[in-house]
Structure formats: C-alpha cells, structure tokens
Symmetry: C3
Subunit: 214 residues, 3 copies
C-alpha cells in the first residue's frame, strides 16, 4: 500500500480508512480469543500491515512503508484500542464493519496494483501484488488465531481482489483518465464484495475424503 | 528453485514435474479441509513456490523467480484445478503421488543447492538453501491447514533433503562432471525417500511430558 | 541480532547464551508435541533465529547473520539435542530455564535495537526492531506447534521488550556511556521480566463474545 503518486490523494485517504478498518476487525478476532491488550494491538498491526509487508518483501520494495512512516503502525494499533473501548456497541455496528472491511479489501488491492505497476512488474504480478496486499493480512490474522484462513474456505474474498485488480490494471494498459478509473474501480470492487456478502455468493468447494497419508 | 544454468535442462524439466506434483498434493490437503476452488489454487501455489520464495528472501536473491516468470504460478494452480477434476481417480494413483512427491523433494533440494552455490554461499548455507527449498513449502501448507507440520513429526523428509544436499554439494567441491553428478544425486535421493516410505523408516521421537509453563 | 560493534563483547557473549536458551525452550515445546529429533532441531533454529531473521527481512539488512555465520545455526540445534539428553533433569531446572528465557528476551531486544540504530531507523522503528528480534521467534514456535501465540495471550512478554527497548534507545539519543547503559538496560529488563513471572503480572484481557461473522 502507500507510496502513492501525489495525485492519488483519494486513494491515500481511503488507505487510512482501510488501515483503521482492518485494525478493528483484527481486534474483534483477538477479543474472541481473549488476547490481552498488547496482543490485540499487535494482531491489529500484523493484520493491517501484513499484506503490504509481504508484497514489499516479494517485490524487493524497500524500505517497507511502515519502516519509512511509523505512523502506519499507530493507526491500526490505536484503532484496536478504540475497539476495546466500544466493543459493546460493536454488535450494533455490524453493517458498518462489513462495509469498512470491504473498503479495506478493495483499497489495499488497488494500492498493491499501484506498487506493482511502479516496480515495472508484468500484468500477472501486478494482479498478484494487489491480491497479496488485499488478502494476506487476513491470512496472517487467521494463522495467528489458530484458524484455517477464511480466505481459503469461503466467500468471494480473493475473487473480489482479483476482479478488482484486473479491472484496475486495465487502466494502466489503456492510458485512461487515472482518477476516473480509480473511482470506477473502487465502486465496482466495493459493490461486488457487498453483493457477495449480502447474497452469500460462494465458490464451489472441493471436498476430498481420501486417506490422510500423503 | 529455477534460475538454472542452461546446461541443467534435465533439472529444469524435473522442476516442472515437481511444481505440478507439489500443487497436486496441496490440492488434496485442501480438499480434506473443504476449501473452495480459489483456496485450493492458492494453497497449491503457496506449497509449490513457498520454499523457493523463502530461500530467495533469506539469500536476498531478487527478483523472485515467480515474479520474473509468472508462468510458475500457473503450473501448480492449474495442477490443483486438474486434481479437483480427477479426485475420484486419485486414490487409485496413490503410488504415483508418492513418487511425484519424492521427485519434488529431491529436485527442489538440488535446485536450492544450485541457487545457494551461485550466490557464493558457504557449504552449510548451500545445504540449508536446499533444505528450505525442498521442505518449507510443505511446512507452509501444513500451517495454513492448521496442522503441526508433518516435517517436524515424522518420516525422513528433512533428512532425505540434507543427505541429498550433502551428496550434491560434494560435486561442487570436487569439480566432477556436473551432469553425471546431477543424475546420480537424483537417483540416490529418490531411492532414499522411496525406501523410507516403503519401510516406514522414522527418526526417534522426543517425548517430553513436563508442565506446560515455559 | 549480532552484527555488534566490537566493543559490545558482553552483549555478544550474552547472545550466545540467548541462542542456547531459546533453542532449549523450543526443544521442550517440540517434545510436548512428540516431534522427531530432526523436527526438534529445526524448531530450535526457527525459534532462536526467527526473530532476527524477520527483523533483517523487514529492514533489508543483508546478508542475514546466520547466512554470514552458519555457526549460529549449530548453536540452537546443538542445544536442542542436548535438551533431549537431559530432559529428565529439566523439570528440576525450571527456575534456570525461566532465567535463561528472560535473558534471551532482553538480549535479543537490545541487539535488535542496535541493528535498527545502525540502519539509521527512526526511534519507533528501533523499538519495533528490538521487539521483533526479541519476540517473533516465540511466535513462530507457537504457530508451528499449532498454538495461539503465547505472546498475544498473556504475560508481560512484549511489554518487557518495549520497555527494555525504550530505555536502551534513550542512550542513543543522550550519547551516554554505551557500556554502562548496556549493563543498566540488561539488569532493568531482566528484573522486570523476572518480577512479572514471579508475581504473575498480566495485562488486562479483551474478551469479546460477538458473533463469529466478520
């Protein structure tokens, strides 16, 4: 995420929303496992920044953005502490959380594509860069919470990321108006995700019950 | 893996077999946890490419090979989709899978040693480089499936990798005929692994039942 | 860790103690899950060197220290094998282990701060660098053992690391006598950790029982 060209101030602003949203969803996951306050903040930072960190490691994109701007650590950490305070309200805010989480997914994906593009990566790697940025933080959160990652099990999470990335990346090739395309991609991705949640769209599952020996 | 010297075309070809084999074994593991199709493909890519990725991160060997050649992502992903289609046949192909998996282990180990050697690493790091390339993908697969990694629990998996690496690395020091040595190492490693599976060779286990407090 | 300025020979010596201690605690964790001898050694290396490795990846601090000095792999691996031999004595050595583990935490934290400082990182990143070096190895150990990381759940582990790092980093800003400050920090951090264990100090926990849907 981040390292945006100056014109993308809208995307930059949305990145702050996304970091906050990811921090809050991670805090709720931490609360379900009765982690202590420090653990809640750490899990929030790993969830919010883990995707971008992995992408930067894969692309050799140094310095990592949170190393260059430590304020990015404070944001999800602070959001996690806030979540502890307002946890009782949270179940009434269920819808708000779903929307925030969807914003996080779409915005991180777009930022990841941006970074890949700036690193002169090929189109498939631009898409992968977006997907890693958008989805890997949640995988790390689930692994640290000792769950099989939600990403692998259900919901159109990775799929939304791929579609968003493909649509967004097309703009790079077509030399279209960047800001218009950014807004269009954001609306498309967000709608796709919210419709998927609303109507419980799911990918078919692969169920295999052979013997456990490899 | 990969980044092979042009002469090692045999190793290069075997790498494709290994990527496919790892993708298929990962798909079966995903199917046992009822992951959806996207999750199956993602797990296959992580398993097949995770070892080489970790090795490249450890050695600072940029660009990562799947970033330079995204086709390496398509191979295990496609193999995973194929596995979904033919899953009903798979239990009849048990032996084929064991052999393919063993090929993956041995080939990835040799490729890892090659990369370490090309990076001017010392002998122990060449061996570790081979072991990480050969074994770490399976560890990531087991962590994402929420299992204690098989590597740590049983079978001569890491041991086969170390022996293969040691034997292979000797050639670097002795300046022997590279191609002959490649074939010899491959046959030795594969035989060792298959014998270990056939006769259920195992390392002794360390069982400690002290109190859980650290 | 490591890459110390030559004057810090005390810290260097303590690093060997810390690597050994982390290897031994990891071996006990491995024994509780009945891992085989190879798995015990691998888990010891990951636990002892994982924190420093992650820090080096985050900061782009190449070559990794265990790549440059493979002897760092032999130390926790050897300590793990030794632990298998003396496991029956270990429950009598409970206190010694707690002290060794605390030394590991404090020393790794200080070394991590040192490395961050040498990389010209900002103060928050120096602290994070210390915390990652001190704590991340234990997180990796718990993930590989299929546990929710202890770090997130209880005890003042991360907190000790942060306080130690803050105190230590103050010296960088104040230009104080480095060796005196090193010893002071070590005593402070160790005392804090041991008092926390002795009196079971804990952070408050965040318990959230909302629905599981994100």
């Amino acid at each position: 995420m981040w390292s945006l060209p100056p014109t993308d101030s809208v995307l930059h602003l949305l990145a702050f929303v996304a970091l906050t949203a990811e921090g809050m969803t991670a805090a709720l996951a931490a609360g379900r496992r009765s982690m202590d306050y420090v653990g809640v903040c750490l899990l929030a930072c790993v969830t919010a920044l883990g995707g971008g960190t992995l992408r930067d490691l894969f692309l050799g994109h140094y310095p990592l953005v949170w190393v260059a701007n430590p304020i990015y650590l404070a944001l999800p950490g602070g959001a996690a502490l806030l979540t502890i305070l307002i946890a009782r309200l949270v179940h009434r805010l269920h819808l708000a959380f779903i929307v925030l989480d969807a914003i996080g997914l779409v915005v991180f994906t777009m930022i990841g594509c941006n970074v890949g593009w700036q690193m002169d990566a090929s189109l498939p790697i631009v898409i992968v860069s977006g997907m890693v940025t958008g989805c890997a933080g949640g995988v790390l959160r689930d692994v640290l919470c000792n769950d099989v990652p939600l990403l692998f099990r259900s919901e159109l999470y990775a799929s939304v990321s791929v579609v968003t990335g493909l649509f967004y990346a097309t703009a790079f090739g077509l030399n279209l108006n960047a800001e218009l395309w950014t807004i269009l991609t954001f609306v498309l991705g967000l709608s796709f995700r919210l419709l998927a949640v609303r109507y419980s769209w799911e990918m078919p599952k692969f169920v295999f019950t052979g013997d456990e020996k490899r």
